[in-house]
Amino acid sequence: MYEFDLTRPTTIADAVAALNEEDAQALGGGQTLIPTMKQRLAMPSKLVSLGAIPEMKGVCMSDAGEVCIGGATPHAVVSAEATAFPGLADLAGQIGDPAVRNRGTIGGSLANNDPSACYPAAALAAGATIVTNSREIAADDFFEGMFETSLEEGEIITEVRFPVPEVSHYEKFLQPASRFALVGVMVAKFADGVRVAVTGASENGVFRWKEAEQALSANFSADAVSDLALSGDEMISDLHGSGEYRAHLVNVMTGRAVKAAS
């Protein structure tokens, strides 16, 4: 790894100030960033650790009934404490392995927007609000394609607010070597309709499968999606599976998610 300075501020304000410096970068749980730095694919001159900021940790309920998760909350804590939104707690408990879940954070996962990551599917399916040090961003406006988000330079995710669906489920087809999703589908049913978010499949990153949403909003059953077909164009094609295979998996995973949720 290249040499860098590491600071551990204890407030959001201090972290934001430290990130103002040129080439400074936020460090969440480091589960993605540290391996990236070891490969010298990232070379910040300063890392600003978000791990010692109490106001960025923990799970609570807002007055509006949303599950609010601090941006530096590890996956293991979400898995144990987000009991008001079982679909989300269950998703968090499926990320990587226990040691990864003890360090990796929701803010780091969303900011990274890995095309195979789990949390982006939860944020998009639930219609979450991503709260940063300077504004609130709707999940629908946050994800901008593989590894791209609407975050500005130096902007950090301080909190994520999830509206709680009536029922929901995340169905993950595991890529056993990486432990990420080969394809993952989160289905969330709200009083005013169903949202379906797909990760692991598209070359453009996480997306909402609108056709399935319409079908499921009219009839919340696995049968409602069994005849829908997604095109394999613009789906990720690699040694683990072709675009067509992934497109097919999206359909199968959606059906399973609906079954498990209803």
């Binding site: 590491l6 540290i34 730095m37 293991a76 226990p98 990864v100 003890n102």
Partner: protein, 161 residues
Amino acid sequence: MAQVSMTVNGKTVSADVEGRTLLSEFLRSDLHLTGTHVGCDTSQCGACVVHVNGDAVKACTMFAAEADGADVGTIEGQANEDGTLNNIQQAFQDHHGLQCGFCTPGMVMSAAALLKDNPKPSEHDVRAYLEGNICRCTGYHNIVKAIMAASGQDVSSIAAE
């Protein structure tokens, strides 16, 4: 360089470390606690698992500076006070839970973290918990068996006698 201090296996230690010093490097090179193994150095294999404030973490994927003020536990702190193997370590020996032994420190540390939260895990629980610990030798059956035996459960019906 920054000063860090932490408790490692009950003893307070402090040292100057660079920002980029990994917890695994700090334990092995500065403290000479070489029981924490580095297999992959890419957060895949789990040979480097230690406890930080009671939680299992991969020491190769955490900076030493981030453990400032923390309570760190390594394999060197696992034995009983009189130096005999603790019940997890003893079970690994009794049930042939190791061959070359390279993965064993991480396996024992993961097992200890599991049993702290889940004192009577099912076979499925053990296998799921060990997802991030890779063993090239044993085929896992005897590791699973050892951990279940360490939790006081009957392991006679578990595969691979």
